[in-house]
């Protein structure tokens, strides 16, 4: 590749620093002599470590301090109604550690105790009901793993390549194992006979926070797989993720996953709340907007190499790793291109994809040190193939804000430094 592919000075410096650090972490290559890490007695092999009474609830080791949520100040007017990003570039597998799983609040993360918690079911039901937290724990539970992706994930990238890192371009997502009660169970406790024909009925769901984040969900979905969840990844929800109870709406845009859930109302029409009119509607090029774009379509991203994860080990074996997901069901296949989409190889799935959940893919390859234009392309069980950004823009223009599931390109140069780019 020619001159135009050279990285900016800033990126180059960052990449060089990473490479220098990489040699410290060290790959096993021919040494001048015996390795003192082996031949000299190390402290940890002689002295004792910390006791079991040291850390009742642990945090990651200090060496992993860069694996944290980050925010982008210029995106929003206030950090109270804002977003931060999961460090997906540094994670592997599919389960997102709760402590670094992204947050999106509209009036901040509130502190709501189980004792203070109440859930109301009202509207077109036979008996409007109030549940306490303890009531919810007495109903039959289910466990499911699902992704929660913000509708705006990758939204800053509609008009071009903007943020340099998978965390920022694709990190408004997390994937957890939820424990909870199906929403249908609660609706049946309240009785749906009064609603009559359920085909044209809705549930309006809202949170206990000041923003309320009210959204309308068609009854068919409410009775299908929506969960009223109180555990995630084995423990209680984090405060910032809706403690003690949130809605889980599999495959659908994250905004509908109402946190601190306080009320479910059966209605005969969509409420047309702020979050489904002013926001979470997608403007086309002609000024007309789509509403009720609930499902998150099939999408993927290579998490390593990526701008925050340069190649530091030189030529030879290279693991290309990434995530794929679809709101329509299982991921059945992921293709990877190293030449910007001219040729594709089918990657290996870490394990068979769960429905509406993150799926890990790997392409184990041999890097000859040539520049690469890395792309991944997800395919789901409906046969839907993740589109390019140009395909999306042809249909929608550049002002949709939400639902950007385009194929991402990383340019990797001879140094192993990666950059967010668009290609023809």
């Amino acid at each position: 590749m020619d001159e135009i592919f050279k990285p900016s000075r800033r990126t180059f410096l960052r990449g060089s620093a990473a490479i220098a650090a990489g040699t410290v972490a060290g790959q096993a290559v021919a040494q001048d002599g015996p390795d003192p890490k082996i031949t000299e007695l190390q402290d940890w092999a002689s002295y004792t470590g910390v006791g079991v009474d040291e850390t009742p609830y642990g945090l990651p080791i200090s060496f992993e301090s860069d694996v944290v949520r980050r925010n982008v100040e210029w995106l929003t007017a206030s950090p109270i109604s804002s977003i931060n990003f999961t460090p997906i570039h540094a994670l592997d597998g599919t389960i997102t550690p709760q402590g670094c799983a992204f947050e999106r609040h509209h009036s901040g993360a509130i502190e709501l105790s189980k004792d203070d918690y109440r859930l109301m079911i009202n509207g077109l039901v036979d008996r409007p009901l109030i549940f306490t937290y303890a009531d919810l724990e007495r109903l039959p539970r289910e466990n499911h793993v699902y992704f929660c992706e913000c509708a705006a994930n990758t939204g800053m990238e509609w008009a071009g390549a903007q943020l340099n890192g998978a965390q920022f371009t694709h990190g408004m997502i997390h994937n957890m194992e939820y424990t909870g009660v199906p929403l249908r169970t609660l609706l049946r406790e309240a009785g749906l006979d009064a609603a009559g024909d359920l085909a044209d009925k809705w549930v309006y769901v809202e949170g206990a926070d000041a923003s309320s984040n009210g959204r309308s969900i068609p009854m068919e979905k409410a009775l299908d797989d929506v969960l009223v969840a109180f555990k995630a990844n084995g423990e209680a929800l984090r405060m910032e993720h809706g403690y003690p109870v949130r809605l889980v709406v599999p495959g659908w845009e994250g905004n509908m996953w109402v946190k601190w859930l306080r009320r479910v109302q059966v209605t005969d029409m969509a409420v047309g709340s702020r979050e489904e009119t002013s926001k979470y509607t997608d403007v086309y090029e002609n000024g007309i907007a789509r509403k009720w774009t609930w499902v998150m379509d099939a999408k993927s991203v290579i998490t390593s190499p990526s701008p925050q994860m340069p190649i530091t080990h030189g030529q030879g074996p290279l693991v290309i790793s990434g995530l794929a997901w679809s709101g329509h069901g299982q991921i059945t296949r992921v293709d990877v291109s190293k030449d910007g989409g001219i040729t594709w190889e089918t990657a290996r799935l870490g394990k068979q994809g769960d429905t509406k959940a993150l799926t890990r893919f790997y392409l184990d390859t041999d890097w000859d040190g040539s520049p690469m234009l890395l792309q991944s392309r997800a395919i789901d069980e409906t046969g839907y193939v993740q589109p390019t950004k140009d395909q999306l823009r042809e249909k929608r223009g550049e002002n949709a804000v939400y639902h950007n599931n385009c194929i991402q390109t990383w340019f990797v140069n001879e140094e192993g430094v990666a950059e967010n780019v668009e290609v023809s």
Partner: protein, 195 residues
């Protein structure tokens, strides 16, 4: 215990439902009785809203613009306001009543909310300065972009086309980089943040 249920939960009191069920539907259902005019609304707005949204609802700094932007939705940078974009007036009443002012939500009286919404209509040149909004005339207000929305049509316009076996080899003749994030340089600097 009613057959087919677990008999958990207890019946909600009317007062409890009234306290929490305050949403307003596009057809006006849910509106409480009340009224407020443009002049009153301007006073309330300047007192409680203008520090973020501007005296004329034009927005301050990065805070949302609530007025203007008509006929910009097909532009490169659309200005989506209550006037130019919102399809229902009920949404404005409901959202302001429930979630504004930011940081002091739920403190407005119904009459104050009617007045603020009347002032927003005036700021958007949708009513005259002597206009009074009430639960009685609420649904007579016509919104500029009421017909500006279509239900998700991805199944027809996109899915049919994109559910095909994709190309694997020789998929294009050449590839060029057309845009680069490092030219914009707006990504937070990790070295600084990590320190």
């Amino acid at each position: 215990v009613i057959e087919g249920t677990y008999g958990l939960g207890r019946v909600a009191f009317d007062e409890e439902i009234a306290a929490w069920d305050v949403d307003v539907l596009p057809d006006g259902r849910g509106l409480p009785e009340g009224r407020g005019d443009v002049f009153t609304g301007e006073e309330v707005f300047v007192d409680k809203c203008a520090s973020c949204h501007g005296d004329f609802a034009e927005g301050v700094g990065n805070w949302p613009v609530l007025a203007g932007g008509f006929d910009t939705l097909a532009n490169r940078d659309p200005v989506k306001t209550v006037g130019s974009y919102w399809p229902y007036l009920s949404t404005a009443w409901d959202y302001i009543n429930r979630s504004m002012p930011f940081g002091e939500a739920g403190t407005l009286t119904p009459d104050e909310t009617y007045a603020i919404v009347a002032y927003l209509l005036y700021s958007n040149n949708m009513v005259d300065d002597d206009f009074e909004l009430s639960h009685e005339n609420f649904t007579e207000v016509e919104m500029y972009n009421a017909d500006g929305f279509v239900v998700d049509d991805r199944p027809e316009l996109e899915y049919a086309e994109w559910r095909t076996e994709p190309c694997m080899e020789n998929c294009k003749e050449s590839v060029e980089i057309t845009m680069r994030a490092t030219f914009l340089d707006v990504t937070p600097d990790e070295d600084v943040e990590a320190a």
